[in-house]
């Protein structure tokens, strides 16, 4: 009974949801529409008399017209020959950042989840404090550091700072997963004479696999999303540019080929969208875990 809505109520709810979704999805719809429109159509303004404004028909033609095609999706590889490379770089960078982050995150998360020790809450707080900073405040010394080790204009220039800003979140997320593994299992393992490290490797890690996958995917999506600031500051080499930086360069051109640029952008977000679609349920449960009262 409580969850039943009256008709006006129902209409209001669905209407509001439609509005909300329109706001969230409008840029994607428009990006897709732009990618379908040939340039002549894209840069066409109807001839108007003085004082006349765009009519409804003209406006609608941006969503449907006979000359729409997927041409931009094939032209883009010719206009930007490095595009496959950019996409590869993006995926590669995100993968590398995920692997390095997990190597640092797993042991730390285990320690925070399982032991009470001196400096526990202080150090955890300090880790989380890193989330408060933007990479932008560290750019100058990082630039110097990377130059000193000859890492500017390499993948490392984007991997090294990228990892630093994902480790704190990773520790926090994985910690809450590991806390759910019953402690009795470890005790049993200790009783059988297993060492602590052996226990971590052979008892905890296998049980933590679902959590590890979720944290790994969350880090991957984060790493894929943050490829801009460090990329435009520490790397000028097209061979190592991730997709957002590559497309951004595209905007600097005299005449922006918006249809192709939108096509490239949509192709570029496909990897994360696919991963998200498959992992959606687990990801959301894992991320919002802290928001739910236990």
């Amino acid at each position: 009974m409580m969850d039943k809505y009256s008709l006006p109520h129902k209409i209001l709810i669905y209407f509001s949801i439609a509005l909300f979704l329109t706001f969230m999805l409008l840029p994607f719809v428009e990006m897709f529409m732009a990618s379908l429109r040939p340039l002549t159509h894209l840069f066409h303004r109807p001839k108007l008399e003085l004082g006349e404004t765009i009519g409804f028909a003209d406006f609608i033609s941006r969503f449907w017209s006979k000359d729409f095609s997927f041409q931009a999706y094939s032209d883009i590889w010719v206009t930007v020959p490095q595009l496959p490379r950019y996409i590869f770089n993006s995926v590669f960078l995100a993968t590398a950042v995920t692997i390095f982050s997990l190597i640092l995150v797993i042991p730390a998360a285990y320690a925070y989840a399982r032991f009470n020790f001196r400096g526990k809450s202080v150090s955890l707080t300090l880790f989380l404090a890193v989330n408060m900073f933007s990479g932008a405040v560290l750019l100058i010394p990082l630039y110097k550091l990377l130059r000193m080790y000859g890492m500017l204009n390499t993948y490392w220039a984007m991997i090294i700072p990228g990892v630093a800003f994902l480790v704190p979140t990773g520790i926090w997320l994985l910690k809450s997963f590991m806390e759910k593994i019953p402690y009795e299992l470890e005790e049993a393992s200790f009783v059988d004479g297993a060492s602590r490290l052996y226990t971590l490797r052979r008892v905890i890690l296998p049980l933590a696999v679902p959590g590890l996958v979720v944290v790994g995917v969350a880090i991957f999506i984060g790493a894929y999303a943050q490829q801009f600031l460090f990329a435009i500051t520490f790397n000028q080499d097209r061979d190592y540019m991730p997709l957002p930086a590559g497309i951004f360069e595209f905007i600097g051109y005299q005449d922006v080929l918006w249809n192709e640029m939108m096509a490239a952008s949509l192709v570029g977000i496909l990897p994360v969208l696919l991963i998200f679609m498959f992992m959606q349920k687990h990801l959301i449960a894992g991320l919002t875990h802290g928001a739910v009262k236990q």
Binding site: I13, P27, A111, F228, T288
Partner: protein, 313 residues
Amino acid sequence: MNQFIQMFKPKTKAQTTTLFAWALISPAAIYMLLIVVWPLVETFRLSFTNSNIGTLIEGYDYIGWANYEKVLGGRKFPAIVNRTFYWMFLSVGLKMILGLIGATLLASNIRARGVIRALVMPPWIIPIAIGCFGWLWLYNGHFGLLSNFIEMVGITDGPFSFLAYKKSAFYSAVVTDVWIGTPMVTLFFLAAMQGVPRDLYEAAYVDGASRWYRFRRITMPQIMPTVITMALLSAIWTFNSFEIIWILTEGGPRGATTTLIIDTFKTAIFSYKFGAGATRAVLVVLILSVFSLIYLAVLGRVSKKFGYAGVVK
């Protein structure tokens, strides 16, 4: 030597645990010291120098507080600080309101809830930069959807370039920032709402409480910790927001969207004034530290009052 090692050998079980725990944490801790803490200290040191592109070869000098005097006494700086805070409060406020509305809608008993929830997420999971490319096109003056739309319905009588005028550029950037920030806020509010025990609602319903009353008296107090923590975290991230403004306007037109972060980046990276840029970075870090302290204090309070700590990222 042997004695030295003996000194550090753990004597009790608690010590063994501490040692083992720290051994596990040390890789991450050392990494953070190197990549975050050391650069922070370096930034602080550089802020007292005149380091710039010209001093790369012959070396820079320490110039005391000169950079700070210049920044804080500068004509533009107060305006930039004001703008940053305005940007932050406006954007966070909108994210909170939209997040609450969105979460309430998604929590209601409707069809295809899962699908709708998934459709709300994309702005959050895709690279911020790519979302901004889409908005760049939406804001286009002659051919953009928004400009054409307001022309069609008669608000303007010709093309309107959203990013070309000071005021409209600022608010356009806010809208994009809200677009990117809202999904996460919605998601966390939704999770918090779904965690509210159902019997509370049922009891209120039986007593004849209206929907609005139930929202105000049950939902809001129950999800308050999440709202507070999300507001603070959102504030910090919005304050730090870089890509959105940089891609849409590069801080323009005529500085209308230059926030502290953009100013820092422009000075340090685009004008190669490393010392002056570092000074701005230090000021940003100081402001953020105040936020963080507030955040931690509030978090402590909230967890005491509500028994749990809301969310952390």
